[in-house]
């Protein structure tokens, strides 16, 4: 958290440092990758892989999201603070999912267990 130390309150007119200009070529590559992954994920969905299907679908989706976040949204070039802000929502999403499912997935446990 030191990178936003209050020296930013100094008065030299600086050009915003977060504005690393990403070349359009990078955008095009990322766009290509996203399109390819979309096709892959749709194609894979037609193959029966049992419990792996949702896992693969979510892995690909997360990877796509990561590409968008890192390049389109410039987090790769951003400060640590922006990085944290980008991560925290997703992290918290896992908390609500994990603890809610901790209830649902263990509800049936008691009956078969002979204590």
């Amino acid at each position: 958290m030191s990178d936003d130390a209050p020296t930013t309150r100094g008065h030299e007119p600086v050009r915003p440092a977060s504005h690393v200009i990403v070349p359009p070529r990078t955008y095009l590559i990322i766009f290509g990758a996203l399109m390819a992954l979309t096709l892959v994920t749709t194609a894979v969905a037609y193959v029966d892989l049992g419990p792996l299907n949702p896992v693969i679908a979510l892995t690909i989706a997360s990877f796509k999201a990561l590409l968008v976040v890192l390049y389109f949204m410039h987090v790769r070039y951003g400060t640590r603070l922006v990085w944290c802000a980008a991560a925290i929502g997703f992290y918290w999403l896992h908390i609500i999912l994990a603890l809610t499912l901790a209830d649902y997935l263990t509800r049936g446990w008691l009956a078969p267990m002979d204590w």
Binding site: A17, A45, L58
Partner: protein, 222 residues
């Protein structure tokens, strides 16, 4: 508000009275948007949680109900939205290098692609309406899983509906930005409205990137 006694080098930058310099103001708005997006993640997060719970409880009903969605349209829409993210990124680029025509053009392209997405979504909704797949008293679904399929569709409409609402808001922002860009408001120095709207737009794209497999692709292989 407005600039008063602009320090040298910040001409054309509408510095808020409470900020010291453009960097502080720009970073604040970018960071503010990120914090807002964290909120948004959790907003959709509630729906994703409901989805996870019911999908784990009724996997077959969800697969079967999902087969009533149109994968082709869904895939096309995914492509359209990713395309709009590309044009949005290009609009931000144009702003950063201060090209006014590029800004306006790319913003309008994003706006157009977003509208295409919503139009396709509208077609899908119309189909669902036609097939009586809208949850509520009029819901019709063959087979024993009907109630659970209704939950699937309830989540489908909530999730895509909330997503579409975000798109509509985004389109409104894009329209305003395009108009202001045409007036030459954005320069290489001052462009954070375009940048933060871009962040918002990409976020909406990411939500769809998850909705697409979770809603459309779960029943294909059976």
């Amino acid at each position: 508000m407005g600039a008063h006694g602009a320090p040298p080098g910040t001409q054309g930058f509408p510095l808020g009275h409470h900020f010291d310099d453009p960097a502080q103001q720009t970073e604040s708005s970018t960071f503010g948007m990120w914090v807002f997006l964290a909120t948004e993640v959790l907003f959709f997060g509630g729906l994703f949680t409901a989805y996870a719970v019911y999908r784990s409880a009724y996997p077959h009903a969800f697969a079967e109900a999902s087969r009533h969605l149109d994968v082709t349209l869904g895939t096309i829409n995914t492509a359209v939205l990713i395309g709009s993210s590309l044009t949005m990124a290009m609009a931000v680029h144009a702003a950063q290098v201060g090209r006014r025509a590029g800004q306006v053009g790319y913003l309008l392209m994003t706006l157009a692609l977003g509208s295409v997405f919503l139009a396709i979504k509208g077609v899908e909704y119309a189909h669902k309406h036609h097939e009586h797949l809208i949850p509520g008293p009029g819901f019709r679904f063959e087979g024993p899983e009907a109630p659970h399929a209704q939950i699937f569709f309830a989540l489908y409409f909530m999730m895509t509906g909330m997503h579409a609402l975000h798109m509509v808001i985004g389109l409104g922002l894009l329209g305003v930005l395009a108009a202001r860009a045409r007036m030459g408001r954005f320069t290489a120095v001052y462009n954070s409205p375009i940048e933060i709207t871009g962040l918002y737009w990409h976020f909406v794209d990411i939500v769809w990137i998850f909705l697409f497999p979770l809603l459309y692709l779960i029943g294909l292989h059976a």
